[in-house]
C-alpha cells in the first residue's frame, strides 16, 4: 500500500507545482537557515576530550578576596580564572593529584636554518600536559622529569611547525632556535585540535588552533618569558621579574586529573587547607573559597559559547517556526483543494486511516525534498558564513563544516518538522464527508 501512496504522492506533486514548490521552499529555506546556525552551535558545544572530561579539573581559589568582585552580582561568584606564580608552584610541589600541569602561552621567534625568522605562539607547561590530555605523538616523547628540574632547553613541536622546519628529515633529536636560544627537540606531535581548545579558554580565542610548540614551564620561567596572554593584577606588582613572580598577578592556567570522587573530595580539602594556611600566614584576609570544575563545568562557567551564537540560534529557530507555520497554511490549502478527490476515495471504500496514510506519505515526500533543498542551502549558508568571517575564518572556520552527522540531522529534522506541520492539514483531509463532496461534483 505504501508503494501505491508513494506513487500517488509523486503524481500529485507534479499536478500542483506552484503550491508544492512553495511548501518545499518554505521547509527548505527554514531548515537551511536553522542548520547553518545550529552547525556552529553544535560544533561549539562538542566534548573536546570525551574519555576524560569527567576526570580533568580546573581548581580556583579566592586570590583576590571579596572586595575585588563586582557588588550586587547575580549570585554566581566569579573567582579569578587564572593563578599567581606562587600558587601554581605550591600546587605542583604539593602533588595532591596524580597528574597536574600549570601552563601559560608564550610567543617566541623561530629562526629556521634557512629563511627569515618568524614569530610563533607556544605553550610553557609541565610534562603531564601530554599524558593528561591524551596528546598524540608522531615521534619521540615528552621531555623528562630531569629536564624540568634542570630547566633544560627542550621542546616538543607541533606537526605543522616540525614539517615547516624539517621538511625532509625527522625533527626529533635536532635543535631549533627559539627566541635566540637552541632547544633540543624531544618529540613531534600528531595533528591534534580539540574543539574548543578546552585547556586554555582564558587567553585568546577558545576555538583557535593548538599552539605549535611546547616547552617546560620551569625553562620558560627561568628565561623570564612573559605571557602572551592575559596578565591581571588586583594590586600593582613590585618592579622587575622577581616582583612579577612574587606578585598577586594572575597569568597561569592549572589542570589536575582526579580519577574518582574520593580524589575530588581530597583535592577540594587540599585547596581549602591551602587557602586557610595562606590566611594564617596573613596573605589572604578572607575565609577560604574554592571551586573545582570539570571540563564541562569549566566551559560553561567561562561562557565559551558566546551569547551571540545563542541569540542567533534563537532567531533561527523563530525563522524555522515562521517557515513551518507558512508550510502548514499552504498544506491546508493543498489538501482542501483536493477535498473532492478524497471524497471519491472515501465513497469507494477507503477508510479514514487510508486517507491519513496517503496524506502523510505525501507530506513525507515533501519533507524529504525540503530536506534536500535545506541541505544544499545549509552548505551554501556555511560557505557564506565562512566567507563573511574574513580573517577570523582561520580560527573558527573549522566550526562551519558539514559533517555526515549534521547532514543526517538536517534531513531528519526537515522530515520530522514537515510531518508535524502536516498533521493538522492531514487530519482535516480525513474529515471530508464523502456524500457532500460527491454532491458538489
Amino acid at each position: 500500500m505504501l508503494g501505491y501512496y508513494l506513487h500517488l504522492a509523486l503524481r500529485t506533486l507534479r499536478r500542483n507545482v506552484i503550491l508544492t514548490s512553495l511548501i518545499i521552499a518554505a521547509v527548505g529555506v527554514g531548515i537551511g537557515a536553522y542548520m547553518t546556525i545550529l552547525t556552529v552551535l553544535i560544533a561549539m558545544s562538542g566534548d573536546p576530550i570525551p574519555d576524560r572530561s569527567d576526570t580533568l579539573f580546573v581548581p580556583q581559589i579566592d586570590v583576590w578576596g571579596p572586595n575585588t568582585r563586582p557588588k550586587g552580582g547575580t549570585g554566581e561568584i566569579r573567582l579569578p580564572p587564572q593563578f599567581t606564580y606562587r600558587d601554581v608552584t605550591a600546587f605542583m610541589q604539593a602533588h595532591s593529584a596524580p597528574h597536574q600541569a600549570a601552563m601559560y602561552p608564550v610567543a617566541l621567534d623561530v629562526t629556521p636554518p634557512k629563511g627569515i625568522a618568524f614569530s610563533q605562539v607556544g605553550r610553557a607547561t609541565h610534562r603531564d600536559f601530554f599524558s593528561m590530555f591524551e596528546v598524540p605523538f608522531a615521534a619521540g616523547a615528552a621531555w623528562s622529569v630531569q629536564d624540568e628540574t634542570d630547566r633544560a632547553d627542550v621542546v616538543v613541536l607541533g606537526k605543522t611547525l616540525a614539517g615547516k622546519l624539517f621538511p625532509n628529515s625527522s625533527a626529533v633529536g635536532q635543535t631549533v632556535s627559539l627566541g635566540g636560544r637552541l632547544y633540543r627537540i624531544t618529540g613531534v606531535l600528531e595533528a591534534w585540535s580539540p574543539t574548543p581548545r578546552f585547556y586554555d579558554v582564558v587567553n585568546g580565542n577558545a576555538f583557535s588552533e593548538v599552539e605549535d610548540f611546547f616547552i617546560p614551564f620551569t625553562t620558560a620561567i627561568g628565561h623570564q618569558m612573559q605571557t602572551n596572554g592575559n596578565y591581571n593584577c588586583a594590586v600593582l606588582p613590585s618592579s622587575g621579574w622577581a616582583g612579577r613572580l612574587s606578585s598577586e598577578c594572575i597569568w597561569f592556567g592549572f589542570w589536575a586529573e582526579l580519577p574518582n570522587a574520593t580524589a575530588v573530595r581530597n583535592y577540594r580539602q587540599y585547596l581549602l587547607n591551602y587557602s586557610a594556611e595562606q590566611r594564617r600566614l596573613g596573605r589572604f584576609h578572607w575565609p577560604p573559597l574554592v571551586q573545582l570544575s570539570n571540563v564541562h563545568q569549566w566551559l560553561s562557567l567561562m561562557h565559551v559559547i558566546p551569547d551571540e551564537v545563542r541569540v542567533n540560534s534563537l532567531l533561527a529557530f523563530g525563522f524555522l517556526t515562521v517557515c513551518l507555520v507558512n508550510a502548514v497554511g499552504l498544506m491546508l490549502a493543498r489538501f482542501s483543494a483536493r477535498a473532492s478527490e478524497f471524497g471519491v476515495r472515501r465513497a469507494l471504500g477507503a477508510t479514514r486511516t487510508d486517507i491519513f496514510l496517503q496524506c502523510l506519505t505525501e507530506t513525507a515526500v515533501v519533507g524529504v525534498l525540503g530536506g534536500m533543498l535545506g541541505l544544499a542551502l545549509t552548505a551554501l549558508g556555511l560557505a557564506a558564513n565562512r566567507a563573511s568571517l574574513g580573517y577570523l575564518a582561520q580560527y573558527v572556520g573549522g566550526l562551519m563544516r558539514l559533517d555526515p552527522a549534521v547532514m543526517a540531522l538536517t534531513v531528519a529534522l526537515a522530515v520530522g518538522a514537515t510531518l508535524c506541520s502536516g498533521l493538522y492539514p492531514t487530519w482535516r483531509a480525513t474529515r471530508v464527508q464523502p456524500a457532500l463532496q460527491l454532491k458538489a461534483q
Binding site: A26, S119, L236, G243, R244, D307, V322, S388
Partner: protein, 406 residues
C-alpha cells in the same frame, strides 16, 4: 464598509487566517529585533577612531634575541622610519585605536587608592611625535614635548606628571568645568596634570552599539614604552601609503635583520578586523530577515490564491449581483489588511517581549520603538503587495460563472 462580511467569511476559514496572523507576528518580531541589532552594529562600525585613518599603517616589530640597548634600538628604527620619503611621522607605542589589545586602567579624582575610580580608561604611551603620527586633533592645551618623555618598561611602576585626555573622557571626569589644568590620579598617588585635550581617540577595543561613550575614554601619557615587542605606527602623506608600506620591511631589515616584522597592515585592515564579527553577524541577520520577508510574502500569495480559487463561485455571484471589479479587489485587500494588521499588533507585542527577554538574559541592547514601527509598516506593505496578483485574478472572475453549473 465590507468589514462585517469579511469577518464572517474569515470565521469560516479560521485556521488559515490564524496561521497567517501568527506568521506575520513572528516575522515582525524577528525582523524588528534583527534590524535593531544590525543598526547598532552599523553605528559602532561607522564611528570615527579620531586618527588619520586613510594615511596610517601599523606593524608589530620584535627583535630576535634581545638587543643590548632596547631603547636605542627603538629610537634607531624610528629615525629610519621618519626619514623615509613620504612619511609624515612615526611612533612606537604600546597600542593604538582598534588594535584589539591594550592597557586598561582606572582614573581617580582623589589620591587615596582605596577610593573608587571615577572612570575606566585605556592608556596610550606616546612620545612627542604621537600627535602628528596619529594625526589627532588637539582641541585644548598642548601635546608632550620631547623633554617630558620618560622610559616605561613592562614591569615598571611609573608615575607621570602629565596626561592628555580625549574630550569624551574629560567631560566624563569634569562635567561642569574645563579639564585643562585639573589634577587626576592613576597608577600611583602622584598627581597627574591634564595638559591637553584631543577631540577623539578611540580605545583599542571596538565600540558597542549606539552612543558607546566608553569607546573614547582614552588617556595619553608621556612615556616611551620599551619592550622587545613594539607596535610601530606610521603616518604617510596622502596617496603614498601603499608605496611606503611596501618599502618599510627592507628599510627596517637594513637597520638589522635580527627581527620579526608581523601584522604589517594599513589601518583600514585594522578597522575591518576589529568589526569582523559585527559585520558577519549583520550579514547573517540581514539575510535571515530578507528570506523571512520573502517566505512570508510568498506564503501570503499562495494562501490568498487558494482562497480566491475556493470562492470563485461566490465572487461570480457578487459580480452578477452588481459588484464592480474594484469592489472585489478592495475586498481582498481589506481582508488582508485585517489579517496582517492583527498579526502586526501581535508582532509588536511579541517583538518587544522577545527584545526585553534577550536584554535581560543575553545582554543585548534594548530596541527603540522606531524599529518595531518600521517593521510593522514593512510587513503591512509586503502583505498588501502579496495580494495584488491573487486579488487581480479574483477581479477577473466573469459574472457568468455564477450561472454556470447551477
Amino acid at each position: 464598509m465590507e468589514i462585517v462580511p469579511i469577518l464572517s467569511a474569515l470565521k469560516r476559514n479560521k485556521v488559515g487566517a490564524i496561521l497567517v496572523t501568527l506568521q506575520i507576528a513572528l516575522t515582525l518580531a524577528v525582523i524588528a529585533n534583527g534590524m535593531s541589532i544590525i543598526q547598532g552594529h552599523l553605528a559602532a562600525m561607522g564611528r570615527p577612531s579620531g586618527i588619520d585613518e586613510a594615511n596610517i599603517f601599523t606593524l608589530q616589530n620584535h627583535w630576535v634575541g634581545e638587543p643590548e640597548n632596547l631603547r636605542a634600538s627603538i629610537e634607531e628604527d624610528l629615525a629610519a622610519l621618519r626619514g623615509m620619503p613620504g612619511v609624515v611621522d612615526a611612533e612606537a607605542t604600546n597600542s593604538y585605536p582598534l588594535r584589539g589589545g591594550g592597557w586598561g586602567w582606572g582614573i581617580r579624582l582623589k589620591p587615596d587608592s582605596s577610593n573608587g575610580g571615577a572612570a575606566g580608561t585605556t592608556l596610550y604611551f606616546n612620545d612627542a611625535h604621537g600627535l602628528d603620527a596619529m594625526g589627532l586633533k588637539l582641541v585644548a592645551g598642548r601635546w608632550f614635548s620631547s623633554s617630558e618623555i620618560e622610559e616605561m618598561r613592562i614591569d615598571d611602576e611609573k608615575g607621570v606628571p602629565s596626561a592628555v585626555l580625549t574630550s569624551a573622557l574629560a567631560k566624563k571626569l569634569f562635567p561642569k568645568s574645563a579639564a585643562l589644568g585639573q589634577v587626576i590620579y592613576m597608577i600611583t598617588d602622584q598627581p597627574v596634570h591634564v595638559i591637553g585635550v584631543v577631540d577623539r581617540a578611540q580605545t583599542p577595543w571596538p565600540a558597542q552599539g549606539f552612543g558607546d561613550e566608553g569607546a573614547e575614554y582614552s588617556t595619553f601619557l608621556p612615556l616611551q614604552f620599551v619592550a622587545n615587542q613594539m607596535n610601530y605606527l606610521v603616518r604617510t602623506r596622502p596617496g603614498q601609503l601603499a608605496a611606503v608600506m611596501r618599502a618599510v620591511p627592507d628599510r627596517l631589515y637594513a637597520v638589522t635583520r635580527q627581527r620579526v616584522i608581523d601584522q604589517l597592515m594599513p589601518f583600514s585592515e585594522t578597522r575591518t578586523r576589529a568589526y569582523q564579527i559585527q559585520k558577519s553577524e549583520s550579514w547573517l541577520l540581514g539575510t535571515v530577515c530578507g528570506l523571512l520577508l520573502a517566505i512570508t510574502g510568498l506564503g501570503t500569495v499562495g494562501l490568498t490564491m487558494y482562497w480566491v480559487a475556493q470562492r470563485r463561485r461566490q465572487i461570480g455571484m457578487r459580480r452578477a449581483l452588481g459588484a464592480r471589479r474594484v469592489d472585489i479587489l478592495r475586498y481582498f485587500h481589506t481582508e488582508n489588511l485585517l489579517i496582517a494588521g492583527s498579526g502586526a499588533l501581535l508582532g509588536v507585542a511579541g517583538g518587544l517581549g522577545a527584545n526585553l527577554w534577550m536584554a535581560t538574559h543575553m545582554g543585548t541592547a534594548r530596541m527603540s520603538w522606531v524599529y518595531i514601527g518600521i517593521g510593522a509598516l514593512i510587513v503591512l506593505v509586503l502583505c498588501q503587495l502579496a495580494v495584488l496578483w491573487p486579488a487581480y485574478r479574483a477581479a477577473c472572475v466573469p459574472p457568468s460563472l455564477a450561472t454556470r453549473g447551477l
